[in-house]
């Protein structure tokens, strides 16, 4: 049963997989292009690669935030947009199973985005490192928390929009909208209230984004499960 659902949900997001692949790979292609431009026909040294790959990994994660937003907004709403949800509604799978399949596919996508990039940034790049540049500064590990939290928020808001609405585009818009609202409220509050340090702001931003994102996923899921009409 789940096999059918997983296959179906995988196929439903084909366009998003293609976009995701492009966004994920682009920084690495950029790195290769940079190498070509800089050193001509010869191949650059490993230190170069160490630095550049670390940057590319970060850019890949950043670009993939779009992928996650698109996924969140599309994953439920696409079946409502073309009314195929009505077909699924009279088949045996429970709403929990249908939703579970979408969650698994989304989790798989998130893993595919993060795991390779983390491996490159934390295993490959350091392995190529020769100590001449401070890699830690390049890794900007603290930025990762921010990216992860933003990812959860963007995906979660899209997921909520997807559960409420029947247009994937609007749901994606809702995803971005909520994120922008969070950013704006942080900007406004730091201006008016004043925050101690940049790190604190970053920490608060990450924490609240993650929590808000998780909340959105929870609410969206509950709403979907309790609805009777497809």
């Amino acid at each position: 049963m789940m096999r059918s659902l997983l296959w179906k949900d995988f196929r439903l997001n084909t366009l998003i997989w293609r976009i995701g692949l492009a966004l994920g790979i682009l920084p690495y292609l950029g790195a290769v292009a940079l190498a070509m431009l800089r050193d001509g026909p010869s191949w650059p040294g490993t230190m170069f690669w160490s630095a550049v790959l670390t940057q590319a990994a970060l850019l890949s994660l950043a670009g993939s935030e779009l992928t996650l937003t698109l996924l969140g907004g599309n994953v439920i709403a696409c079946e409502r947009a073309d009314r195929s949800a009505e077909f699924l509604a009279y088949l045996p799978p429970s709403r929990a199973q249908v939703l579970g399949s979408k969650a698994l596919v989304s989790l798989g996508a998130a893993a595919l985005i993060w795991v390779p990039n983390l491996l490159i940034a934390d295993l490959l790049a350091p392995a190529l490192h020769d100590g001449s540049v401070d890699i830690a500064a390049l890794q900007q590990a603290s930025l990762r928390w921010g990216l992860a939290a933003t990812g959860i928020l963007l995906f979660g808001a899209g997921w909520l929009g997807s559960a409420l609405l029947d247009s994937p585009a609007v749901a994606v818009g809702f995803g971005f909208g909520l994120w922008i609202a969070v950013i704006a409220s942080f900007a406004a509050s730091t201006n008016t209230l004043g925050w101690p340090t940049a790190e604190r702001v970053a920490a608060w931003y990450a924490a609240s984004s993650a929590v808000l994102g998780a909340l959105c996923i929870g609410i969206g899921s509950c709403l979907y499960l309790r609805r009777i009409e497809p």
């Binding site: 059918s4 296959w7 196929r11 195929s84 009505e86 077909f87 009279y90 088949l91 009777i228 009409e229």
Partner: protein, 304 residues
């Protein structure tokens, strides 16, 4: 014929109601469909047939009342209902991007009772091309695919919502043959709604007429036809009818002619009619299902 159907009802509706704001689409509908029988649901457009069917499939939440299918309460055990019921909706929303073969492969794994051989049989019989995408299928082919998906898992109950509406006569025949071949074996229950009264006459053991959300009549098809008659009485000059007998579902007076459609007709009823009214001559005729249907609806509407 009463001992023919296995015990228990396949479908049971009790006080089923659906309200949208102030308009009542289905009004306190109660009926029971015995297992193994074929049940025809007829009514004018907007009578609430589709809404009723969606409620008994668990696709729409009723405002009040309950529906049980094969003993399962649709509100709480809808999964059990979906596993044992094959449903053919009026408009199909099968994933348009899938190929026929992919649709079959997708649906197959969702049912424990899927019969591969039957599925292959039906794909051949319905001449469905496995490689064609659903969006490229003709309307008739999609309908047949929908039927295949509904019967290949050998359901106990088959529910069809206006299955042959808009079909050309050849596809309609192929579709009905497909239904009869695979499902109609006296043990399975079929419920279908239709505007085609000829089909209802041919296929339904019992028939129910819905009008403006209310159940007007629910009867064995042959019994309904045998007991409902059209009486045309010529009235004496200058006289009007005094009282209509019980069981009149429709009547009309035009000049000296008083026409009535009477249910549960008998010699006694005719006698009483003649005794109580200034009648010169009277003729009694049998009616087809279409006339009976129209008279029930006209009679209802005259009252409201």
């Amino acid at each position: 014929m009463s001992g023919q159907f296995p015990a228990g009802s396949a479908i049971e509706l009790v006080g089923l109601t659906k309200r949208y704001g102030t308009s009542v689409v289905v009004d306190r509908l109660s009926l029971s469909v015995p297992r193994g029988s074929t049940f025809g649901l007829i009514g004018p457009n907007g009578a609430g047939k589709s809404t009723t069917i969606k409620m008994l499939m668990g696709l729409l939440a009723p405002t009040s009342g309950s529906a049980r299918v094969l003993g399962f309460d649709v509100a709480t055990r809808s999964r059990d209902v979906r596993r044992q019921v094959g449903y053919v909706p009026e408009t199909h929303q099968i994933y348009r991007w899938m190929r026929v073969g992919e649709v079959v492969g997708f649906v197959k794994l969702l049912y424990d009772s899927w019969d591969d051989r039957l599925c292959e049989d039906l794909l051949d019989r319905f001449a469905l091309d496995r490689n064609k995408r659903v969006k490229h299928l003709s309307k008739g082919a999609i309908a047949k695919l929908g039927l295949l998906l509904a019967i290949a898992h050998k359901p106990e109950v088959l529910v069809l919502d206006e299955p042959v509406s808009g079909m050309d006569p050849i596809i309609r025949e192929e579709f009905l043959e497909g239904v009869l071949q695979a499902v109609a074996d006296g043990r399975r229950t079929i419920l279908f709604s239709s505007h085609n009264l000829d089909d209802v006459r041919r296929l339904a053991d019992s028939v129910a007429i819905l009008c403006e959300g209310r159940l007007v009549v629910h009867r064995d098809t042959d019994a309904l036809l045998a007991s409902t008659k059209r009486v045309t009485a010529v009235l004496k000059d200058g006289c009007l009818p005094r009282g209509a007998p019980e069981g009149v579902i429709w009547q009309r007076v035009a000049r000296r002619e008083w026409s009535l459609t009477i249910t549960d007709f008998s010699g006694e009823v005719l006698g009483r009619l003649k005794d109580e009214n200034p009648i010169e001559t009277v003729t009694v005729e049998d009616l087809g299902l279409e006339d009976i249907f129209k008279d029930y609806i006209k009679g209802r509407r005259a009252v409201e």
